[in-house]
Structures are given as C-alpha cells and as structure tokens.
C-alpha cells in the first residue's frame, strides 16, 4: 500500500555524471512510498529527462550549477519539484513535438508528460524555472493469504 513519507530535499550540481546517483535516490524513495517498479521507473525517467533539459538548456551545459530537488509522498501521490536558476526554458522545449517527425532530440517533455500525471513549468520572480510534477501511487497488491 502507498505510504506517506517525510519529504526528501537536496541540491545537486548540473553535472551529467551525477544523474545516476539522483536516479537511484528517487527510485529508492518511490519504492519506500510503495510505488510498483514500473511506476517508479516512469517517475525516475521523467525526472532524468527534466534534469537533462535543465543541464542542456537552463545551464547551457555548465556542470557546476545548482539544481534543487524535492520529492514528497503524501500517501496518495508522489510530488517532485526541480528548481534551477538558469535560463528560462525555451517554448519549443516546454511543448512536446510531433513524434511522427523522426529525428533525435525534443523527446524529453513528451516523456515527462507521458510518465507523470501532471507537469507544470513555473517561472519564479527570482528567475530560473520551477518544474512541478506529480504521479499517483498505485501500490503493489498485497500477497494473497497463505502465500507468505
């Protein structure tokens, strides 16, 4: 069953070599919140795509800029917020593109909107972008009686 957990928040640098560690932390949290593996995979993928966009576009490839990460399970949904302090996200990045146009690039937002129940880009007055995503937790079914 889904579990409410204390929020987990930390700041990582915009270094692509740190993406694996972020994915592991988010996967662990999602698992502890009771998310089934397939759902957790989707959430981790969405987060990874968002972080990749931040590194590439908001920070233009710089590897020493801060990204604030916040994840919280309220027992029903998992809420994920990514905050950067870089360039605003270009409009063509925010909107998914036509997938029938087979070319590399531009798939990140489509993946995010497919994997998450809600995706919202906010533009705080202080600058940068705050990306707020959420996903309902469908927990693994309990084992039938007598099977343990």
């Amino acid at each position: 069953m889904p579990f409410a957990l204390e929020p987990m928040t930390w700041t990582c640098l915009s270094d692509p070599n740190l993406l694996g560690e972020v994915r592991r932390k988010l996967a662990q949290y999602a698992s502890e919140a009771g998310m089934v593996e397939e759902q957790a995979d989707c959430l981790v993928l969405a987060a990874d795509e968002a972080l990749t966009n931040i590194i590439r576009h908001a920070y233009e490839g710089a590897t020493d800029q801060p990204i604030d990460i916040y994840i919280h399970s309220d027992g029903t949904e998992l809420h994920l917020t990514l905050r950067d302090y870089g360039q605003p996200v270009p409009r063509e990045i925010i909107h998914s593109r036509d997938l029938d146009d087979i070319r590399p690039g531009g798939l990140g937002v489509h993946i995010m909107t497919t994997c998450m129940d809600s995706v919202e880009f906010q533009h705080p007055d202080e600058g940068g972008t705050k990306l707020v995503m959420s996903k309902r937790i469908e927990a693994a079914p309990l084992p039938a009686e007598g099977t343990l």
Binding site: P16, C42, L45, T52, I102, P104, G108, C115
Partner: protein, 110 residues
C-alpha cells in the same frame, strides 16, 4: 558494473556492446563509437543492450542518429537484447516501430 562501450567485428558485422546506463553523461561517447563504426562501412550493425539497465532520450537520440547514417547506405541496424525498462522508452516515444528489435544478439546475427 564498469561502464564501457566496445565494438566486436564478426566478419563485416559490427556489434556495439554497451555496458551501463545510457544518459547525458554517456550519449556523446556512444555516438562517437557509432560514428567510427559507420565509417568502416559494415554490412550490418547490431547494438547489444543486454548490459544496459537504463536508457533515456539522449540514448534514444544516439540510436536515431545511427539509424539515419545506416539508412543512407542501406545498412541494416538491429537493436538487440533490450530489457523491458529500456524498450519502454522506445515505446513511449513511438520509436519502437522505427527500429528493428531482436530478443538476443544471436537472433540479430542469424
């Protein structure tokens, strides 16, 4: 698991073995290997995903670029041994219909 990308040649077939996650930190390196393989004009290119636990859209982009190169020379490109998790990324982006997917490298070679 140490992250490596190696190329094995079986006659004129190039098999690109990738070990480890494919994300922004490695997609450029993968692309460089793919470009080097294409330059050698193989009869067939197989990308072995059997030791790839995770791939994001930067990895997908590398495969799309490889596909565009191989199409120009009518060289078959096969993606082999993808896990369900990796295949799901192709499915979400609807690119599973564009690539030839094989269950194993042996299937791709036969």
């Amino acid at each position: 698991m140490s992250n490596t990308i190696t190329t094995e040649w079986k006659e004129k077939t190039a098999i690109i073995h990738v070990v480890g996650d494919i994300d922004l930190s490695r997609s450029a390196g993968l692309q460089a290997v793919c470009n080097a393989v294409v330059k050698k004009k193989p009869d067939r290119v197989i990308v072995d995903f059997s030791e790839v636990p995770y791939m994001d859209s930067s990895g997908v982009a590398s495969m799309v670029k490889l596909l565009s190169h191989t199409k120009k020379t009518n060289t078959p490109l096969l993606l082999a041994a993808m896990s369900a998790r990796v295949r799901a990324v192709l499915q979400i982006t609807r690119l599973d219909r564009v690539f030839t997917l094989k269950e194993t490298v042996e299937d791709a070679l036969s």
